[in-house]
Point group: D2
Chain length 351, copies 4
């Protein structure tokens, strides 16, 4: 940490700042420039960031040098983390596709979608049972009944299950049914929920808040990791910018290589929310894979024009099959793989 003193600060002010820092157990390094005096602090600065050193007399700025996250950082864990759930690995050369409806609406809808996405090569079934909705007048999800349907669809198809948990007290319930807890964008800084998820030890898919920085996403992951739960996946799902006319959000594609540089955790891209329009999802998914994502999260619905939520960004089954074919080609171009569709496997084995 560097403390920059104001132009014209007095020796007493400089002395007081040094004394305060030393009292907190740190060594300092004084450097007098032509225009500014600078005090360097030696040691792990993270505990210091809570100290309001900017309020000390004569201080112009406090400049942190170290990154505020530790367990999530690649410095701490240089190799890619691989998360293994019931034999499926996330974070390897294989790009894992998680697909399914925005909301679980009925057993028929879920079962049909599950088989569709499984056949096309997905490994995880997504679907919401507890739904955060902007309006209190919108459909709020089926609750535990939806969780039961998800589990049944997972068992029937062999897909893993990921679903959102919205409150600390739901964590145990959701862990009972789901293989992966999803923490939604609106809850990325719901610290009680992060702690509860971390305590569960369950794999967590952590979605970036729509106005959270990459660093805040990593700090939210740090909450979970600091509880000893290392099975965390980071999900870029689009950010809020000034341009919302033709897309719902802006896919921050830069965040994919940035997160891979800064952290060892797997990075998942959600092109459905990041665009908000079904006819942009496939292009965004291709971009996500090309940029280095370890997985994709895709909304699929058998009848999007009748969906109770997110219909405008959900793919029809045939669009999803086409998306899978396209990302498979892009994956190969970046030395990655995507599971082959079952139908083709059948066709080949029939020879």
């Amino acid at each position: 940490m560097i403390i920059v003193m104001r132009q014209g600060s007095s020796s007493k002010e400089v002395g007081d700042v040094i004394k305060r820092v030393q009292d907190l157990g740190y060594q300092v390094h004084l450097s007098k420039g032509v225009e500014r005096t600078i005090i360097g602090i030696i040691g792990d600065e993270r505990p210091l960031t809570v100290q309001p050193l900017e309020r000390l007399s004569g201080v112009e700025a406090v400049v942190p040098i170290l990154k505020p996250f530790k367990l999530a950082s690649r410095d701490f864990h240089p190799e890619n983390s691989v998360i293994t759930i019931k034999g499926t690995e996330i974070g390897t050369d294989e790009i894992i596709v998680m697909a399914g409806p925005c909301s679980v609406e009925s057993w028929e809808q879920l079962q049909e979608t599950a088989h569709v996405v499984k056949r096309a090569g997905a490994k995880v079934l997504r679907g919401g049972a507890f739904k955060p909705r902007t309006s209190p007048y919108s459909f709020q999800g089926l609750g535990e009944e939806g969780l039961q349907m998800l589990r049944a669809a997972g068992d029937e198809t062999g897909l893993l299950i990921v679903t959102e948990v919205m409150a600390p007290k739901q964590v145990d319930l959701v862990c009972h049914y789901a293989d992966i807890l999803q923490i939604g964008a609106r809850n990325m800084q719901n610290y009680n929920l992060l702690r509860a998820a971390g305590d569960s030890g369950h794999p967590v898919l952590l979605k970036r808040g729509f106005s959270s920085t990459v660093e805040e996403l990593l700090m939210a992951a740090e909450y979970i990791l600091s509880k000893g739960d290392y099975q965390v996946m980071l999900c870029e799902r689009g950010i809020r910018t000034f341009d919302t006319k033709y897309t719902r959000n802006t896919l921050d594609i830069n965040a994919v290589p940035v997160l891979k540089q800064l952290s060892h955790l797997p990075v998942i891209v959600d092109p459905s929310h990041a665009t908000g329009k079904w006819d942009l999802v496939t292009a965004a998914a291709r971009a996500g894979v090309a940029a280095g994502a370890d997985g994709l999260l895709i909304e699929v619905h058998p009848e999007p024009d009748k969906a109770l939520s997110d219909g405008q960004q959900s793919l029809r089954p045939e669009n999803f099959v086409e998306l899978m074919a396209q990302i498979r080609r892009v994956a190969e171009a970046v030395d990655r793989t995507v599971t082959e569709p079952e139908v083709e496997r059948v066709a080949v084995s029939a020879l």
Copy 2:
């Protein structure tokens, strides 16, 4: 609601959209323009917004006409709402000042601050017992012990108490000690918490999310109002923009008159978070009052350079006294009032 059909959409597509809307129980109004066909929908469109009509074949855009919030709107309740708590009215010509430390740190710190702000003219004591912190390594608050101190300080001084509640299961506990529940910016779209707060019937200070639109703030208020709890105050506390070099947030001063136009609920401005720098707080507070705020929320600490949180934006007692003197003059210039300081009252009665 208006449905705009794509250029060149077929009669069948137009007919299918009309049929779908009629099946949902609405009348339609067809208008064929030179370049586009438009279908107007007659009736309360709010339940329709969950329908993914954009996915119907031939539809280019769906344009809502009505505002999505209802109970929070001035159309619904043309007069200003006044919230009365133990005899103190919020939403009248008197500007209510809520002040105190970011976090409750100790009884001495809280007691001293409470007396300072009371004497200067504040009506409500603020202070955090449960603290949402970006880093899991930062001070997380004193919990229930902090709540007890707040209650004691309120009882000793006659100040009302406002403090943050972070999870649904804390609502009962916080209601037990506090006069006003604060829902923080990061939880503005924590719908389980909004519902729990609404169920409590307690007064609520709802802070705008740092990247939430004015409309989303009103929709969050709608969650609470729809539970029958009408004692909601809206708090503008700064938004996140591209410029974060010299301030922590950007005070959206336009939001004050906009909220007063759109809604009947009292509007509170938090210049401490909206600037993030103590030496900008007074100017921002004056602006808030000049723009039409019904109250202010201000961080005050006896020793900001030793505060466990938000020290850089907390006022010293003497700065707070000066702020109160300045906003009192601005309040008068816009035909509002701020409670006189006790010391002056004493001085006058001594004559």
Copy 3:
């Protein structure tokens, strides 16, 4: 300037960076911490910012310590700058109001508006002759004919004239007719124009780009100042954020005290563009004055519903008279003044 080396950087890398900096004529200060080695650079770092030191092997980050602007800074010129134009001073305790139509449309429209704003207490007449319009199909201004009308209206009323200049080759022409050159938000980083304006030596009203930081605004001012033209006024006119539903821009009210802290130049607030809605202009103007602005820029039109541009944000004459009355009261509350309206002056002298 501080250069932070990556964790694990080699002695050779550190040595190479030091050598490079020394070759550029600077002294260095080496500090080895527990996790990072830091190289401090002693001397005026501004010329160094063009050096891509981040590309040197082993460098993690380059952290500037000094502000990049110099002539615009309060460090350089501690007192407020006062700009005197034909006897009118800008930057004193008197708040200067500049008012008039968005575009000059006709002599009748301009003459009427000029007299209205003069009587109400304005000191400067604004009006556009060259108009930057988003659409090539919109009214583009009257050009030199508009400038002639502005000059005539100024001469008739005694008001100073401010009008926009859009290209370097227009600078001489606009200087011939106007007292103050306005550089619009879209041209804030049109460096050829900034240089041409600076070369003219004319007073300049420099509007902040709608997505420019405060620092970039000061750097744009630096372009003009570095040509020896010190008569620069900074104008906050609203920034672009994620929320554009109920206002055209977001008035960055924090920028007013921030600019007053960082710079000695007068700060003008434009509540017309900063809100984009006529019925929010007066509240925003009051906030601007309360926050410390030295002047206001207001759009006034005799018939806003027939204006060729910006009608939705222009005040009618009677609204402007009311705005002036309101800001006069707020100005007094912050120990500033606004010129009295002429009608009152007449009334007093009639006694």
Copy 4:
């Protein structure tokens, strides 16, 4: 266009609005809903957008239905536009790579870079002779001397030349030396420059302003197209968002498929500016190709750590060769091509 009347607006107000619209030569369509009366306007609404209909009494909102751009739209020109310059086609299945230094610094630097990028498969040489710089103290470019070097390097290698033009009066000069005029992000709404570029009839690479919407980019293109110059390329080069810690800008990858849907003009992606960090450029370039870009604009410098501008985002020659190899594979995965490197061609012909 739809005019929404306020709740409770009177018949007279509705009648006045209808009369005004009819006086302007339009037919109207009246629709009385339960809560709101709506007036639909029949005909080409574009000329109407300059009318301040929102200021008419009783009007709540004016909702445009048609897009404001016409010549740039795919409705107007359904097929992709192909721009042919000296036999090179832009806008076909071949992805065109434009590469070179940020600034032309010397003949040696430019010549070396030109040969490097030519051999690696680039078709166009980029390089700045007039440089827009945030600081007046930074290197401002070599001017006409730089243009001469660019032309010479183009003639020597057979590469086309693209370079920035900053002012209307430079247009003729730049046209004399360059094959493509670049209009920079800061000048995207410099309308005098857009008109001058359009008048030249020269091919134009139009960069999106860093805070401009996709619609504003298309409106800027409309300025050029409306002058009869149809050889316009649109360039996404990153936008400004709230997160600037680890990247200089945010690549708006969604804009690529959005622009391809809305417009017939070729879309170029600039991953150098869109990331601002050389070690993110290749990932962003892959994403751009995967998303559907028709070309890339890449900064390459023989010695980035000595570059006079943008060194931190410039690729070394060997990094550029690697980038070309990677995007060639991604291009094939989306059924596009990138020119093969010359060295390989030589190798093959040597057999």
